[in-house]
């Protein structure tokens, strides 16, 4: 296949179309993959933290600003809202930490805020591979919208679009 691999860094939003593959590596961050099943275009947002604290200076960094930002860019590229669906991955936590260390909760908070924002924007969340303590390498295939998640030496594929 003639795929182009695009690496998406921390706090970045990237878009592509068939046959691009969007790749990112996740720890506590969450990767939000949104796909237009008719137009075969999609985008991946790699968010670091749940809520924007900088009043819009870095919209790609936070779940509550990056997801609307990704949606706007997809619509601009010709995606139709009714054809969009989302898959998410990431939000892992460190294996051991003290109960009063708030850093330990960030993975869970990222996942919760991501789900809240997707719901608010009316984008159906079809699949998720979140939580736990494994790091994840994810590949989002824009030819058919499927998501491959590699974690702790094993691969899983999520096909719903």
């Amino acid at each position: 296949m003639n795929e182009t691999l695009i690496n998406v860094g921390v706090a970045q939003v990237k878009l592509g179309s068939n046959p691009t593959v969007l790749r990112t590596i996740l720890g506590s961050c969450v990767g939000i993959c949104i796909y237009d099943r008719i137009k075969k275009i999609g985008g991946l947002a790699h968010v670091l933290l749940p809520k924007d604290t900088t009043s819009g200076q870095a919209p790609e960094k936070y779940a509550d600003t990056a997801i609307p930002f990704l949606l706007q860019r997809l619509l601009k590229e010709g995606a139709k809202k009714e054809n969009l669906s989302a898959k998410i991955a990431g939000g892992a936590s460190m294996f051991k930490f003290g109960a009063n260390v708030s850093l330990g909760q960030i993975g869970d908070k990222n996942v919760a805020e991501t789900k809240r924002v997707l719901e608010e924007l009316n984008i159906p969340l079809l699949e998720e591979d979140t939580g736990g303590n494994a790091g994840r390498v994810i590949d989002f295939f824009l030819n058919d919208g499927h998501l491959k998640v590699k974690a702790a030496g094993e691969e899983k594929n999520y096909y719903k679009i």
Partner: protein, 286 residues
């Protein structure tokens, strides 16, 4: 425990030639700058003897991360403009890159990931040290951060063979990945790192950093601050997905380290929030 794997690891680390090497000038400079009797001129002359290193060092002196604006064209100029400590940092970056900038099997790190993580942990450690007004140890933790995982380059092949057993030990007996490494293979990568630094003749504080960065509560009291800073920086890096491999986030956040550094939840999150900007700095020197 896989006894035959333990034996093979022992054979490797007892064979000096099997451990990675760095240019001699790096160890020399590192020990020279800690000696108050040594002149800057002598350090400059020592570095300049290594032509290939010098070229790469000057390139980094003029990179966005290290540059002070003026173009630097000689080691002597670099020492005057950037200071001897910063030049030593640059020497360490140049010297360790060939050892760390490679694909690491077993831990499943693509080429460049271990190197990028080392640089990020170095930069974050330095930033944490500055935050608590410990400029005096900022350069030490920068170097310690860069090389904190060097033992993975040797242990990787054995992790490849025993990964399933290590992970099983982690999940069924609630042990961190390093503890499980030691139980299954007889060694953790931290012990291998210490061996490598011994070969390189690196100072005690750096050996303490690589040995205890994942369990700073066991670090000797006199180096606990340095070890704790690198510990926290490594946690932040893993959480941001930088350097996170097959061992994932199966590591701890040490309460003792947070207490030693005296950092609050808010300050920790503020540094985490700045990770993307620090990743940009990594790209400037990678």
């Amino acid at each position: 425990m896989h006894a035959h794997i333990k034996q093979r690891i022992e054979a490797t680390i007892n064979n000096i030639a099997a451990l990675p090497t760095i240019p001699e000038v790096a160890s020399k400079v590192l020990n020279m700058v800690n000696d108050p009797e040594v002149s800057f001129k002598a350090v400059g002359e020592e570095i300049s003897k290594d032509q290939a290193m010098t070229t790469n060092i000057l390139k980094l002196c003029n990179s966005a991360y290290f540059s002070k604006g003026k173009e630097i064209t000689s080691i002597d100029r670099a020492i005057v403009t950037l200071g001897i400590k910063e030049v030593t940092n640059i020497v360490m970056v140049v010297a360790t890159k060939p050892v760390l900038d490679k694909f690491v099997i077993g831990y499943d790190l693509a080429k460049g990931e271990l190197w990028k993580q080392g640089l990020l942990v170095g930069i974050v450690s330095k930033c944490l040290a500055m935050n608590i007004k410990r400029k005096d140890i900022a350069d030490t933790v920068f170097t310690g951060g860069i090389i904190h995982n060097v033992g993975k380059t040797i242990l990787a092949i054995y992790v490849q063979n025993t990964f399933k057993d290590i992970l099983k030990e982690v999940t069924t007996n609630n042990r961190t990945f390093n503890e499980a490494e030691r139980l299954i293979m007889g060694y953790s990568h931290q012990e291998i790192s210490a061996k490598i630094l011994e070969k390189w003749n690196f100072p005690e504080v750096l050996r303490a950093i690589v040995t205890y960065y994942s369990d700073p509560e066991n670090a000797p009291e006199k180096y606990r601050m340095e070890v704790s800073l690198v510990h926290i920086a490594n946690v932040l890096s893993l959480m941001a997905g930088i350097g996170v491999g097959a061992d994932g986030l199966y590591h701890q956040i040490s309460d003792k380290a947070l207490e030693t550094v005296g950092i609050s939840n808010e300050e920790l999150e503020a540094v985490f929030n700045r990770i993307p900007e620090m990743i940009k700095q990594v790209r400037e020197i990678a």
